[in-house]
Amino acid sequence: MRNVYLYILVMAAVTYLIRVLPLTLIRREIKNTFLRSFLYYVPYVTLAVMTFPAILDATGSTVSAAAGLLAAALLAWYGASLFQVACAACAVVFVIELIIL
């Protein structure tokens, strides 16, 4: 095995550069409407893609995950806070798994 810390340093350097380059290089407000609109939509697409269907495999069973998803979606839709949505989803998953597993 090579030097573990050197591996870790390479990982960290590459990952940090990816994270920090746009933030430090794009210092002005982008005026181009297409680019502005693209960047406006980016978070919604990214987060939606990451959430579904991955959430269904996140817990001990698809049923509890689906129940957690439903609870989170309902609460989020009606404007509950991040903390409330997160806690409610955890609680629902926990209770459902107590019953079915």
Binding site: L6, V14, I18, R19, Y40, V42, Y44, T51
Partner: protein, 241 residues
């Protein structure tokens, strides 16, 4: 001046508060990472340093595989570049969320905070992101991530499976809490969210597409769908005049 400092403190505290569920979720997820790190021969110190410096789950799991295989440093760099490329898009988006006059040190620090989850709550926090919000969130999330990794190496899986299972859903629930309220107010956004989820489902279930890694899937779908939406429904300029 005083007002500005107060503002930063307030944003920091709000970030701390919203970072708590992230930290708890991270604690649960990084246990698994710690267990994987131990089986790949890393010490608790090495794994904890890795978690503090990298703060990313998919990238670190992949990194462990590269280390275990004794592959070259170049391969390590390439794998991290591909798996973590989505952060580049997030960083671009954040560059437009912060004030143009944001000082360089805050930009450098903000880069460190870009994880899927902290990015998620940062874009949802306000129209104009104050970096101190993300700093607050990362000061709970990063210790949670590092501590979980460390405990995973030392103790193995001591958290009951039920607890891990319940906590794992928290991170996804938070994504929903970020994207659904704006989607409720805009039909276009609602359509974008539904289309993204449907496309993501197709990617994960169809034979050829499901071979695509999840990092690549995120990038491809983001470029396609956000690009399409930007062409069809350009966002109107508002307070810019």
């Amino acid at each position: 001046m005083k007002h500005m400092r107060m503002g930063a403190m307030e944003w920091y505290r709000r970030g701390l508060r919203d970072g708590i569920p992230i930290g708890l979720g991270y604690l649960a997820v990084s246990f698994t990472l710690g267990i994987a790190a131990r089986s790949d021969g890393l010490t608790a110190v090495q794994a904890t340093v890795m978690s503090l410096l990298n703060l990313t789950s998919a990238g670190q799991f992949a990194g462990l595989t590269v280390i275990a295989a004794g592959a070259s440093y170049l391969e390590m760099a390439a794998s991290q570049l591909i798996i973590n490329l989505r952060y580049l898009l997030m960083s671009c988006a954040l560059s437009q969320k912060i004030a143009p006059e944001t000082p360089m040190w805050q930009r450098l620090a903000l880069g460190y905070t870009i994880t899927d989850e902290i990015f998620g709550i940062s874009v949802g926090a306000a129209d104009r992101l104050n970096p101190f919000y993300s700093f607050g969130a990362v000061s709970v999330a990063a210790p949670g991530w590092a501590l979980g990794t460390c405990l995973g190496v030392i103790l193995g899986n001591v958290l009951p499976a039920r607890i891990v299972s319940a906590l794992s859903v928290a991170l996804y629930a938070m994504f929903l809490a970020v994207i659904l309220p704006p989607a409720r107010r805009s039909r276009v956004l609602a359509g974008v969210v539904v289309l993204s989820m449907a496309a993501s489902l197709l990617f994960s279930r169809l034979p050829v597409l499901s071979a695509v890694s999840s990092g690549m899937k995120i990038i491809v779908l983001t470029v396609l769908i956000a690009g399409g939406a930007a062409l069809l429904f350009p966002v109107k300029e508002e307070a810019d005049a």
